[in-house]
């Protein structure tokens, strides 16, 4: 490889498009003859539709059709599994309730009717005219008293992620431990709230006499959506085309819940015109998924020397009536510390609330908050420095599986983080530091994120003008995918980055998985490399058979690609440009496919990214206001593809962690289950004024086992760890333990 684009802090390649408004988001597609859908949804959380009167809506100006459960087409159930991911049932990722199939109501905000009209405004107005009479039943809204409680066995059907686990004898070890900490931590329901709201445009046509559906949708799971739509609508998969070149943020939403695209497809079919449904911000609190609330009981037993002997983590959380999604809170508990006796459980209460789904750092964000706060409490009990406690329990291998880490340099993260924040200069005594009316505190937490890798395909095309295109059906969520895959492709093609394009966001492209779980770089990167190399191999084959080529007759292994030229390894002066080979062959391009997937290393090693987060806070105790003064974080996340986009990802994640800690919460009415907070004036995400100075450093040590790129994903780790670091700093500042997220001013002022 001669060019080197990976590892450079390049600007986002789609930055200009986005700033100028030229990037086309789902709701912006200009589809001819478009009609507009608006949804009327359930006012109640539990019961049935006794009758639904659409006559006024039907008569309103511009209305083309009104769909309800009485006249909507029947849908087939969503698949049990897609790929290796369990969709239905306990521990599964999606909901089985499908829109407009039943009179039964399972949550407030459940879509009950779609009104289609010739303009957006008319559709919205007509939707307010739909009158529903309910047979109301009392909803179940409290985890503790829910009549249906389950203990899901596995997270998403993954046999490597069991949700009820006992290792060793934690009960007796805890009983015997000379030092114990047992605490309950609670976290509120939160919502992803990406700026781009859900939207779908559906267009039906006949192709070869058969139905064909084109769907522009805000999805970060193109292939999964294609399969769900095909199954539910009874179409062959090839007859569903999904397009989504840009996503305005997802954070875990936009992947696993399908009422929006299904409703749009049904509506478009009913009116025989393309239909668009754009959801309102209020609806995002009903149909877009959420992070469920948790009530986590942590019990730690330790020797006086600070060796943890027992660790128990029991989570109560909730899902909807038709989903079994379970916030997997023990993800750190199971692997973070060298503890011989560990147990964890997850109890799921099925409530009349909207379905939850993954949200940035599913399980990790709130699970690590509870664990790392309990660790801090244990350090206090032991009168030990919180970092030292972690070092004394440092895990040199995965305690659950016994497997070695693929790469772990967490000690370095702790040490550097301490330096950055000035850990040793603080007065460790709680409530000992002050600036004016404000108390000052320092806190820290370990953090990690599983470093997954899946299978993906890509296609590379080298054109006769010396440019190239690499394509794969992955997604751009604002994460920088266009940029880093262009970098990776350019390097693999030995071309300058300006001559390479990367395309994504279309189900017609080679297969890539849902963008989630921070696996995209490690999954699609190697596929792009493989495709690029296959294209170069094809080009070499052309050259060595072309009598006019300087490389005629050479063995392909003797040829190298350098800066857009194929050359002899032994004599780089001898060779020619890619384009020249194609032009002589009268070929417009050479095209090759490539794929990549993890191999047996997956079973040999335990793959994780690690990090340490340190926070300094200022607490105005009289008012209960907490401000984060500084966050310093050091990550061991493998080799970075692009330090600039990586930095943005991480500080975005850390800011989201600030939100989760200090302000984000969605309240549902305790009696009727309606979301009480439904807009961004009342659902607070951090403003610039809440966003502290953030210092982020990377060890940038390649993971030798994950792939040749040595890169692990970084999408979520920023969100994890930050909440506990801040909460622990609040304790250090005030001497008070707050065990309920978010830490809004009322909690300090009145707890």
């Amino acid at each position: 490889m001669t060019t080197q684009a990976t590892g450079k802090p390049l600007d986002r390649v789609d930055g200009r498009l986005k700033v100028t408004g030229a990037a086309r988001f789902t709701a912006e597609w200009d589809v001819p003859n478009l009609a507009y859908g608006a949804v009327a949804s359930s006012a109640i959380a539990h019961g049935t539709v006794r009758s639904i009167d659409v006559s006024a809506a039907r008569k309103a100006p511009g209305v083309l059709a009104v769909l309800t459960h009485e006249n909507a087409p029947r849908l087939q159930p969503i698949p049990e599994k897609i790929g290796e991911t369990q969709f239905r049932g306990e521990g599964g990722i999606s909901e089985t309730l499908q829109p407009l199939q039943t009179a039964a109501i399972e949550y407030a905000g459940q879509p009950l009717a779609v009104v289609v009209a010739d303009t957006h405004e008319r559709a919205r107005y007509a939707a307010t005219l739909v009158r529903v009479a309910y047979e109301e039943r009392p909803p179940q809204l409290a985890m503790a008293t829910a009549s249906r409680k389950t203990l899901p066995e596995m997270f998403l059907g993954n046999s490597k992620e069991k949700l009820q686990v006992t290792i060793g004898k934690p009960k007796s070890a805890l009983a015997a431990a000379p030092v114990k900490v047992e605490r309950v931590y609670e976290s509120a329901i939160t919502h992803h709230n990406p700026i781009e709201q859900l939207a779908t445009v559906a267009r039906w046509e006949k192709r070869g006499g058969a139905d064909f559906l084109t769907l522009y949708d805000t999805t970060r799971g193109i292939e999964v959506l294609q399969e769900v739509m095909a199954t539910s609508l009874g179409l062959p998969k090839e007859s569903v085309h999904i397009i989504c070149p840009f996503i305005g943020g997802a954070f875990g939403s936009k992947g696993w819940l399908y009422a929006p695209p299904l409703l749009t497809a049904m509506a478009a079919r009913a009116v025989g015109r393309p239909v668009k449904i754009e959801w309102r911000r209020q609806d995002m609190f009903a149909v877009a998924g959420q992070r469920a609330a948790t009530r986590q009981t942590l019990a730690l037993g330790a020797t006086r020397a600070g060796k943890i002997t027992a660790l128990q983590h029991d989570t109560q959380t909730h899902s909807s009536l038709s989903s079994g999604f379970t916030e997997p809170c023990a993800r750190l508990t199971r692997m973070m510390y060298a503890v011989p006796n560990i147990s964890f459980t997850h109890q799921l209460s099925h409530l009349h609330l909207p379905s939850p789904c993954p949200m940035r750092g599913p399980g990790e964000t709130v699970g690590s908050w509870a664990l790392e706060c309990a660790m801090d409490e244990l350090a206090t009990e032991l009168n030990l420095d919180p970092v030292e406690l972690r070092l004394r329990n440092y895990a040199d291998k995965n305690p659950e599986t016994g497997k070695p880490w693929s790469s772990k340099n967490l000690r370095q993260c702790y040490a550097r983080g301490k330096e950055l924040i000035g850990w040793d200069q603080r007065n460790p005594k709680p409530r000992s530091m002050r600036e004016g009316t404000q108390l000052i505190g320092y806190g820290m937490a370990s953090t990690m994120y599983p470093a997954g890798r899946g299978e993906a395909q890509a296609r590379a095309t080298i054109f006769a003008d010396g440019r190239a295109l690499v394509q794969s059906a992955t997604h751009e969520l604002g994460n920088g995918a266009y940029t880093i895959f262009r970098q990776i492709s350019a390097d693999a093609l030995s071309l300058p980055i300006e001559r390479v394009r990367f395309e994504l966001g279309d189900s017609a492209l080679p297969s890539a998985p849902t963008t989630g779980g921070s696996v995209t770089t490690a999954t699609v990167g190697p596929a792009a490399q493989a495709a690029a190399r296959a294209a170069l191999a094809a080009l070499k084959n052309l050259a060595v058979r072309d009598a006019e080529s300087p490389l005629f007759g050479a063995a392909t292994e003797a040829i190298d690609a350098q800066e857009g030229r194929l050359v002899l390894k032994t004599n780089p002066a001898k060779g020619e440009e890619y384009g020249a080979i194609l032009r002589r062959a009268k070929l417009p391009s050479v095209i090759a496919m490539g794929g990549a997937k993890p191999g047996e290393e997956k079973d040999k090693y335990s793959f994780y990214s690690f990090g340490a987060v340190f926070a300094q806070v200022r607490v105005d105790e009289a008012s209960g206001s907490i401000r984060v003064a500084r966050l310093c974080a050091v990550y061991d996340a493998g080799r970075l593809m692009n330090p600039k986009t990586a930095h943005s990802q991480i500080i975005g994640g850390m800011a989201m962690g600030v939100g989760a800690t200090l302000m984000e919460a969605t309240h549902y009415d305790p009696r009727n289950g309606r979301a009480v907070v439904r807009n961004l004036a009342d659902y607070h995400v951090p403003s610039c004024a809440d966003t502290p100075d953030m210092t982020v450093e990377w060890l940038n040590i390649p993971d030798p086992h994950i792939s040749e790129l040595g890169a692990r994903g970084i999408g979520e780790i920023g969100c994890v760890g930050t909440p506990a670091a801040i909460t622990n700093a609040v304790f250090h500042a005030t001497g008070r333990r707050l065990r309920s997220l978010p830490l809004t001013p009322d909690k300090l002022a009145f707890s």
């Binding site: 004016g436 008012s623 200090l662 009415d669 009727n672 009342d682 607070h684 809440d690 009322d746």
Partner: protein
């Protein structure tokens, strides 16, 4: 949103006539409150009469005080040098509210007329006497975290969200209308009683033309606690206007925000302060008096200790016994807790 007619008024008379003769007609100024509520299916005006182009945009000297045209933007009023200096509480309240973009659109008359942030009011599927008289009040027995400590009724427990209104109440502002009449500011807004759908005493078609700030030679200040450092409504706020007589307080006016259906002037506390030397102890006593009659609900009892502390601090800072958190007349002075990041000048 329901269909509606729209008309732009060229004169106050024309605006008044258009609204007065049309049932269901309303004025619209910046639209930042009204339009949201229309989109949320809460307001259904038949006709919008746009008053944003009316010549009501002057800030002029008036009887030793200042007259602010109803159409002056929140931004223009907040940064007006004379106002910022003489009526610091008002600039602080404005600048600690909403966002730059909203303040640029928002008018001085529209701001105190914005409607409650009670979340139930904004959800047409919930019972709400303010939105739909007679439907009940879902906030009672529901999630009432942001609701009232004072002056609530069995029909409504909502609070008034405007920061500006709290400052105007402490400054004894007066409102000029096309009545024509002058309404003393605290009387402009009503308590809910059994007519919570009426926020104000304005008649249908009565246009506010100006807000008058009477002459004031003391110090005024506004403090606000909120769930994020910027761009959030107050949980509790406090405006103080102090006039001194040598070392003693001649007259103190204190209004609390976020605790009632209108800015809550605390008469008994004001009486305690008058004629006294400013001390922390005195301020504590005043704050205790101010909250003595507070009636907490299920989720808002935190506002009592928070409000007391805030009032003490507002008095300490206004009287100079404690430094302000930022330059007077700015959002930094008003924002309790300040912004994230390190303190610029550790105190």
């Amino acid at each position: 949103m329901h269909p509606f007619q729209y008309q732009r008024a060229d004169s106050a008379d024309q605006a008044v006539a258009a609204v007065a003769k049309t049932p269901g007609a309303t004025f619209i100024a910046g639209g930042t409150s009204h339009l949201d509520l229309m989109k949320e299916d809460v307001h259904h005006p038949s006709l919008l009469v746009d008053v944003s182009a009316l010549p009501l945009k002057q800030i002029t000297a008036f009887e030793g005080g200042v007259r602010i045209g109803a159409g002056v933007s929140n931004t223009a009023a907040a940064y007006h040098p004379d106002l910022q200096q003489r009526y610091a509480a008002m600039s602080e309240a404005l600048l600690a509210g909403a966002s730059v973009q909203i303040r640029n659109m928002a008018s001085m008359a529209g701001n105190p007329l914005q409607r409650t942030r009670c979340p139930y009011f904004r959800d047409p599927a919930q019972a709400c006497n303010k939105r739909t008289p007679g439907s009940g009040c879902a906030a009672i027995g529901g999630y009432n975290h942001v609701h009232a400590l004072f002056g609530a009724s069995k029909a409504c427990i909502a609070t008034h969200p405007s920061d500006l209104a709290v400052a105007l109440a402490a400054l004894d502002a007066r409102v000029q209308t096309t009545g024509p009449r002058t309404i003393a500011f605290p009387e402009l807004l009503r308590l809910p009683g059994d007519t919570p759908h009426l926020d104000t005493v304005l008649e249908h078609g009565e246009l506010i033309t100006a807000i008058d700030l009477p002459a004031f030679a003391g110090r005024s200040h506004y403090l606000k606690v909120r769930e994020r450092a910027s761009y959030a409504y107050a949980l509790v706020s406090c405006a103080v206007a102090l006039e001194m007589d040598g070392p003693k307080i001649r007259r103190a006016r204190v209004a609390l925000g976020g605790v009632a259906h209108k800015p809550w002037r605390v008469g008994p506390a004001e009486a305690l302060l008058a004629g006294q030397l400013p001390t922390e102890q005195l301020f504590q006593a005043a704050a205790n008096a101010a909250f003595a009659d507070a009636k907490p609900l299920e989720h808002n009892a935190y506002k009592i200790p928070m409000g007391r502390n805030l009032m003490v601090r507002a008095l300490l800072e206004t009287s100079g016994l404690q430094p302000m958190q930022g330059p007077a007349g700015t959002a930094f002075a008003a924002s309790v807790g300040g912004v994230a990041g390190r303190l610029a000048t550790p105190r």
